[in-house]
């Protein structure tokens, strides 16, 4: 099962929505090294914005959700905020490109 999953991840799914663009312009494009990784500042801004907006939106929704289900809002606000940030991460994965090229030696 793990084999199948990893094969699908590695071969069967197209890399990203921008995949072809990366292959075409990758060598010329300028990125910035942040914490040992190459990043596009625009994509970084977009990813951060999406995750932050969703985290805070879910966070501020928590009193209403807590009211609806009848639980204290304190713990729920952090839970929902973390869920929002994670949703943002999964959206960002599809909106940003990987800036790594893997070569076998």
């Amino acid at each position: 099962m793990v084999d199948v999953l990893l094969n699908v991840l590695n071969n069967k799914i197209p890399s990203r929505v921008f995949h072809d663009v990366v292959l075409f312009v990758g060598d010329e494009e300028v990125f910035y090294e942040l914490y040992g990784e190459y990043v596009s500042l625009r994509e970084f801004g977009v990813a951060t914005l999406i995750s932050t907006i969703l985290a805070l939106a879910f966070y501020f929704m928590s009193p209403y959700v807590a009211n609806l289900i009848g639980v204290p809002p304190t713990g729920l606000s952090i839970t929902l905020g973390a869920v929002g940030a994670s949703v943002g991460f999964f959206i960002s994965v599809f909106l940003t490109r990987v800036k790594r090229v893997i070569k076998e030696v």
Partner: protein, 458 residues
């Protein structure tokens, strides 16, 4: 423990293991930045501290096992603790031994974790009666009472400062940073903690990011094209760990795991990993043999220091006296509103020693039962999948979002700006050669340090 708690403990251990295998393999994932916010989130969500501890022990097992995999395959560290392994990995790789160090690293991680658990749980059991004595206070200056554990923390803090790349700055930044923290707390009118802690955590990243707002500095971060990663090919690896390590490697890993797990109560895990590895490498005449031995034992020491640095402060002292406890494990020591006490105090008052010990051992066992065969069999495929599929921007964006949310939770909008200023100062000090551990420990020591400073007759 009731059956539901046991079931939840098993599920959380498994979940934490799988999550931290991926985080461990990802390059540039700092341990404190990835472990502490998630642990803090779990505790603030209302997760039982015992379950949070189970999560944390499994995350140490998986993270420290996985973060050396990209080192062995590509010479890229998966976390800060894996950085000291890079030179030895490159030596071994050049000698065609990439798969050898990969399997040895994975096997010695298991040795490190369980030796450290056995050592520190035994020591903690006998030292636990000392806890009350350590928490008692003495009046050292007129109207300045200092808890006895503070002196252990101060020793650790000074040792860490003296092992920083910039010793002088590290030493003078201790009182300066403490004053800054207490000053901000005075402005806020309450003892804000989370936002300061998160500020230090993301300091290096924020400093680099904000440097890019300066046109000249931005150019120094510019890179053309994609980042090339050279992955070594590996052969078949046996599943039996006893076939992987030599007798000498088992003996050295066991010995140094036991020693460093105790030393990590006050000393830096990274510092200990560097020290022990360098000692062992220099003990061999053959460079390649020395590098393989150093790489292997370092993997054990990584797990051991993380376990030791958490368990002894947690069970005996009750205060974060070392960089590990004041870093990734810090959320256990912070008073939480939803509990009315710290998670540490909740643990020792609601659960007996045996339950806590069995939970730590059980979660480590589950973590290794999942991570060990998975990494032995699929380490290369997982690495390729992570490198090809997870953009750094999405991951960094996630961490920043969580930091902003938790900072807001801590002190509303002022908390967000408090995080910003602390992160800029921390990032600058880090760039100048001050270990982040010094700042984490200063944050814990700040109230007492400032009280002593203000109480001095000079």
């Amino acid at each position: 423990m009731d059956p539901l708690t046991v079931l939840l403990a098993v599920l959380l251990s498994a979940l934490s293991t799988i999550l931290y295998i991926f985080i461990g393999i990802l390059p540039g994932t700092d341990e404190t930045a990835t472990m502490a916010p998630i642990l803090l989130t779990l505790l603030l969500m209302g997760v039982d501290p015992l379950l949070a501890l189970v999560w944390f022990a499994a995350s140490i097992a998986a993270f420290k096992m996985a973060d050396s995999i990209p080192v062995a395959l590509a010479g890229i560290p998966g976390g800060v603790m894996a950085v000291p392994q890079v030179p030895d990995a490159l030596t071994a790789k050049d000698a065609g031994l990439a798969d050898t160090i990969l399997r040895k690293g994975i096997a010695s991680s298991v040795v490190g974790q369980f030796v450290a658990l056995a050592t520190t749980l035994t020591i903690s059991y006998y030292l636990m009666p000392l806890g009350d004595w350590l928490r008692a206070t003495d009046e050292v200056l007129p109207n300045v009472k200092v808890a006895r554990w503070f002196w252990i923390l101060l020793i650790g803090l000074l040792v860490l400062a003296l092992t920083s790349r910039n010793k002088g700055l590290a030493l003078i930044s201790i009182p300066a940073f403490a004053l800054g923290v207490q000053g901000l707390r005075a402005v806020y009118g309450r003892s804000v903690y989370i936002s300061f802690f998160l500020g230090i955590t993301i300091g290096p990243m924020m400093f680099e990011l904000l440097s890019m707002l300066h046109t000249e500095l931005k150019k120094t971060y510019e890179r053309k094209g994609l980042k090339e990663i050279k992955l070594a090919k590996i052969g078949e690896i046996p599943l039996n760990p006893l076939k992987i390590l030599t007798r000498e490697e088992v003996a050295q890993s066991t010995l140094w795991s036991a020693v460093t797990s105790i030393l990590a109560t006050v000393m830096s895990p990274v510092g200990l990993t560097i020290l022990i590895g360098d000692l062992l490498r220099e003990s061999k005449k053959d460079k390649v043999r020395g590098s393989v031995l150093a790489y292997t034992v370092r993997d054990a020491v990584k797990n051991a220091t993380y376990i030791g640095g958490t368990v002894i402060p947690l069970l005996v002292i009750g205060q974060p006296t070392g960089p590990m406890a004041a870093g990734p494990a810090m959320p256990f020591f912070q008073k939480l509103e939803n509990l009315g006490m710290s998670a540490r105090d909740y643990l020792v008052t609601h659960y007996d020693y045996l339950t806590i010990s069995l939970s730590l051992i059980g979660s480590s066992l589950i973590a290794f039962l999942i991570a060990y065969p998975l990494l032995v069999k699929y380490s290369r495929k997982i690495t390729v999948a992570v490198f090809r599929r997870v953009p750094a921007e999405a991951l960094y964006g996630l961490f920043i979002a969580i930091v902003i949310m938790l900072s807001y939770y801590d002190a509303r909008i002022a908390g967000v700006f408090g995080t910003l200023i602390i992160s800029i100062v921390s990032g600058a000090l880090w760039k100048l050669g001050v270990s982040l551990g010094v700042l984490f420990m200063t944050l814990v020591a700040a109230p007492t340090l400032v009280a002593i400073l203000m109480g001095l007759p000079i």
